[in-house]
Symmetry: C2
Subunit: 254 residues, 2 copies
């Protein structure tokens, strides 16, 4: 049992705050589903596992090299970031993967503010097998608890990188990767014109879309044709349709 | 000013609970954006507008026939269902529109539990210009505050109807409308095989998908081909891609 005064507990509590996550390059991963994903996909990133006194670790989790701390229910509740805590939290190291941009398929996210939307975007990028996701400076933190939960473990399947999107777009151009920007002012996407082997897709803020300065750097601004009276779509839904058009539309012919 | 004891205030507070919304066939619509949508698209449904003492109604809202109540900040806070209340709530009558199913395009939602996902689904159906959305018995309430906010006013653009999906599917069949079910066990959607003039699409619960008994009633179970390591997509993202395939893929050729 660990007391509330314990230095480790103090540190873990700080990890609920973005500034501290960045300073420590460490974040909290909550719930059995996500921790299991880490155990099986990225055990080297797990620096500790914290369990509520009543929680039983599944027998098939190989945690030999991971420190496991059983904490009191009171401490666990203070560490938890969910309304109905499920008894387990992983303490996980960030990777700022030194992704070398090469031919491939990328999602660039500019100024998305809702952690749930951001997580859903990362999960969607994973479902399409993209090579990396880049988060621009105005984005909510990719290691926010709610983002991690909405992404359902996709952080362990592809690199999620905070970096200036202007720099990323410049690199894409250097590699002659076509850059598309989702924009309500763009051209309607044309059937069968998608299906690119390499691409970068930029999607933007929930209310305002991507920054005009960034869209100005793209090769093409595209728009999903809309038939109804909604003014726009949710950013993650729009990204899903655009990624299908850009990538899986090609896959789907197989 | 209205006192907390006021019968009207008591009724409005009850509308935060589904049971009372259904009994009174009335719901609360929170925030200037949604209330504005009601004022301009469906003023006949607004039975009252409640404003926080500091809120100023926009001059161009014609509210002649709508009762406006200014309430104390304390009462407003008790009525609000958001973390950062924006000073205005509409009291809105439900329509259980007597939709006659005819040739057209429909979304059927089975057992979706997250109010945000449900609202995003309704917004997406609106963006594709569908004719109606049907919510099955196991769904979260379509008039939940969070659902209304995620739907961003789409409730005023197309009918949103709670009804047994088995009955709805039977009606679709009577009208020879093809019924598709989203399912991880389905066939991969084929490029260019979508683009239907009439269709019904069933999507299901976040964890388990649609009920097998309901999927058994469809003409075809379909699946989005996935290239990555995510086990599945968010239900609203999947619905967006399937609706694009079923409807807008056709539109996009124009």
């Amino acid at each position: 049992m660990v007391s509330m005064q314990n230095e480790k507990v103090k540190l873990w509590k700080k990890l609920k705050i973005r500034k501290w996550r960045e300073k420590e390059q460490t974040y909290l991963l909550e719930g059995p589903h996500l921790v299991q994903e880490a155990v099986f996909s990225a055990r080297h990133l797990l620096s500790a596992v914290l369990i509520d006194e009543a929680f039983h670790l599944p027998a098939d989790w190989l945690l030999d090299d991971v420190e496991v701390y059983q904490v009191t229910h009171k401490i666990f509740t203070e560490l938890s970031q969910t309304e109905t805590p499920q008894g387990i939290i992983g303490v996980c190291k960030m990777v700022q993967p030194s992704v070398t941009i090469h031919q491939g398929r990328y999602l660039l996210i500019d100024g998305v503010q809702d952690p749930g939307n951001l997580g859903t975007l990362i999960r969607t990028a994973d479902a399409f097998g993209l090579d990396a996701v880049f988060l621009g400076e105005g984005c909510v933190d990719g290691y926010n608890g709610k983002t991690l939960r909405s992404a359902q473990g996709s952080h362990f399947h592809l690199p999620v990188i905070h970096r200036s999107l202007f720099d990323v777009v410049a690199e894409m151009k250097k590699h002659r990767i076509p850059v598309f920007g989702s924009s309500l002012q763009g051209e309607n996407m044309k059937k069968n014109a998608g299906g690119k082997k390499d691409f970068a897709l930029i999607v933007g803020n929930e209310g305002n879309g991507a920054q005009p300065e960034l869209l100005a750097e793209t090769d093409e601004e595209i728009k999903i044709p809309m038939a109804g009276r909604a003014e726009s779509m949710n950013v993650a839904v729009a990204a899903g349709i655009l990624l299908y058009w850009l990538s899986a539309e090609g896959l789907a012919t197989e």
